[in-house]
Amino acid sequence: MKPTLAVFKFASCDGCQLSILDAEDHIMSIAGAIDIVEFAEATTRREPPPYTVGLVEGSITTPHDALRIREIREQCQILVTIGACATSGGIQALRNAADVDEFAAQVYASPEYLDVLATSTPISDHVRVDYALYGCPVSIDQLVDLVTALLAGRRPYIPEHSVCIECKQRGSTCLLVAPGIPCLGPVTRAGCGAICPAFGRGCYGCFGPSPHPNVAGLLTAWEAAGADRADLAEALRAFTVGAPEFAEAARDL
């Protein structure tokens, strides 16, 4: 029997799931090797669990979703979180430092209709996660590698270095050192291919913190580029604000 793949969505923009469909060159061959049995965005087919691999997009923001992820964990042999929402809570984790009731009242006329949690949290705060793909959105190459690795029974390759390495590989000029443009690349996990610096703009950290980010060291470089602590703290409080390394560094700045 072919291994089965299920895709689940929580609070998110659907972009990471769409990356699965964007892997056009590979999707048909993947579809031949693995049976996609649950992928609401793409198919009406729904097969009962268990599933070999579960890909989870999105963060936990409602009491119902906090229960649903526990059921899904039970149903999946290997659970993989895909993207910034699932791995760090996403941009919607900006609510975590705010008053969610005030947020709700700001957007909705009748907040009492809503049943939401005060926080947006990553999947790993709720259940055990086997692998995580970072990024807002995830890299298509990493997604294809992940599925092929799991099919081959090897570990997927997930970069542990920072965006700086990808900038060097790409031959881009260092924005922090040369023109003096604030950039989060030195503390951000690689995976995007260092696209922002190639466009002449600083990295905005959408792949989240690289392991052991040196934010204090980065502050020195930002100050030399004319930015201050508040600017750096604000930049860290964005697409992966819920990642502890960024949240704590921003608080301490």
Binding site: G15, L18, T61
Partner: protein, 431 residues
């Protein structure tokens, strides 16, 4: 059969972006309730945008929707440019049209081939469709890839591209960098023509229901991101007059706000609305393909939206080729923008319809208030009206067939439910 106790429950409506449900109650042969709800968990973008830098709006609001990030980026940068009184270089503006064409191509093609065509042909998914129709689905994937390639060429990646900024682009490509797109778009033009001819042959339920169609419209081109907001019933306003004419309402069943026209109530946005308002302004190759297949304005059968999407895809491919043909790299990718206190409005035609943004910023460039009205929120009332119309005329169908028809009808709108809250739970109750 009308007074039997029958109940159909479908927990999710599939092949839409986001999560939703549908509930239909039938009493004594009459529909007593027909509600389309959205239970996508709210993410409160308009709340957390407050206090952020005005320059962050395009990157942050893009995250509302991974399917149409360019629409969010363009509507937001245009709003900020209005506040700050900035006019961008016309060539840079054309590059915004070009990246928008890429988004129309990839989003429309995704919807037609992978999400919607399977309905008409009785398949569970595009992947299942591909097993029996490999040439058609292969053509769709090739077309979609070309749309993605345009977005990636101008924005670095397909989803949440990073090229756009308030004042223009962070970087604009050289002519040589864009040149590889040209042969791909020439192939795409053939593929798009064949797509129109193919989707026009799909078995089409008759479900004509006249509605008020609202879209951005211009006198001299098929509007994508410039124009006035017009309707088929005489509305003709500047973008900044939005709140004088439209209102949003919060209903219990949905985490998406429902929009309506203050004067007249329900209306719809999307490809059919654009086509009904601007048919004659399509690129000639697209207009010819529409007419060859019997599609003329006004189109009031929502199931034909798939044909309109194909026509618009062809339009976008042809327009992209035209822009590339004329392109000369501008000297400056952007004009510097100094924040000015005030209010700005931005509207553009996301693949699934009109997307309106309004921001108030202070003199430091901090966002004071944000208002974002996505297309699916505007279409909710029309989606419900279509469902009611279909249920009333198809009571004799079995629950399973009725449910299939209703799900297909919802997919006519290519609803992007993530945007609006904001899969569908279908419940037919014939108690």
């Amino acid at each position: 059969m009308t007074s039997d106790t029958r109940r159909i429950g479908v927990e999710y409506i599939t092949r839409v972006e986001g999560e939703g449900w549908l509930k239909v109650a039938i009493r004594d042969g009459k529909v007593s309730e027909c509600n389309f709800g959205i239970f996508e968990p709210p993410r409160f973008f308009e709340a957390f945008m407050r206090g952020r830098k005005f320059t962050e709006a395009p990157d942050i609001t893009a995250r509302i929707c991974g399917i149409c990030p360019v629409a969010y980026q363009v509507s937001s940068v245009q709003a900020m440019e209005m506040v700050c009184g900035v006019t961008i270089d016309p060539v840079v503006d054309e590059l915004r049209t070009l990246i928008y064409c890429g988004e129309w191509i990839e989003s429309h093609t995704l919807h037609m081939y992978l999400l919607h065509a399977p309905d008409f042909l009785g398949y569970e998914s595009g992947i299942a469709l591909a097993a029996d129709h490999p040439d058609e689905v292969g053509r769709g994937l090739r077309l979609k890839q070309t749309g993605n390639a345009i977005v990636a060429a101008l924005g670095g990646r397909e989803i949440h591209p990073v090229g756009l900024r308030v004042g223009g682009y962070h970087r604009v490509p050289t002519r040589n960098e864009l040149a590889p797109l040209i042969p791909r778009l020439e192939q795409a033009r053939d593929d798009a023509i064949q797509t129109v001819d193919w989707v026009a042959t799909l078995p089409m339920p008759e479900a004509n229901r006249d509605d008020e169609y609202v879209a951005l419209a211009a006198d001299d081109h098929y509007a994508i991101h410039h124009g006035r907001i017009r309707s088929t019933r005489g509305l003709d306003i500047a973008v900044e007059e939005w709140n004088d004419h439209f209102a949003e309402e919060h209903v219990e069943r949905s985490t998406a706000l429902h929009s309506h026209l203050k004067e007249r109530g329900m209306y719809q946005v999307g490809p059919t609305a654009r086509f009904n308002l601007s048919e004659e302004l399509l690129r000639p190759v697209a207009l010819e393909a529409a007419h060859r297949n019997g599609l003329t304005a006004p189109c009031t059968n929502p199931f034909k939206s798939i044909v309109v999407r194909a026509v618009e895809t062809l339009h976008a491919v042809d327009l992209a080729l035209d822009i590339l043909d004329r392109y000369q790299r501008p000297a400056h990718p952007y004009v510097p923008v100094t924040p000015t206190a005030g209010v700005g409005h931005g509207a553009s035609e996301a693949p699934r319809g009109l997307l309106y943004h309004r921001y108030e910023i202070d003199s430091e460039g901090r966002v004071k208030t944000a208002q974002i009205v996505p297309p699916t929120a505007q279409n909710q009332a029309s989606i419900e009206a279509d469902l009611l119309h279909l249920v009333e005329r198809n009571l004799e169908l079995s629950d399973a067939d009725l449910q299939h028809l209703l799900e297909q009808s919802i997919r006519n709108y290519d609803p992007c439910i993530s945007c609006s809250a904001h899969f569908l739970h279908v419940e037919v109750d014939r108690a």
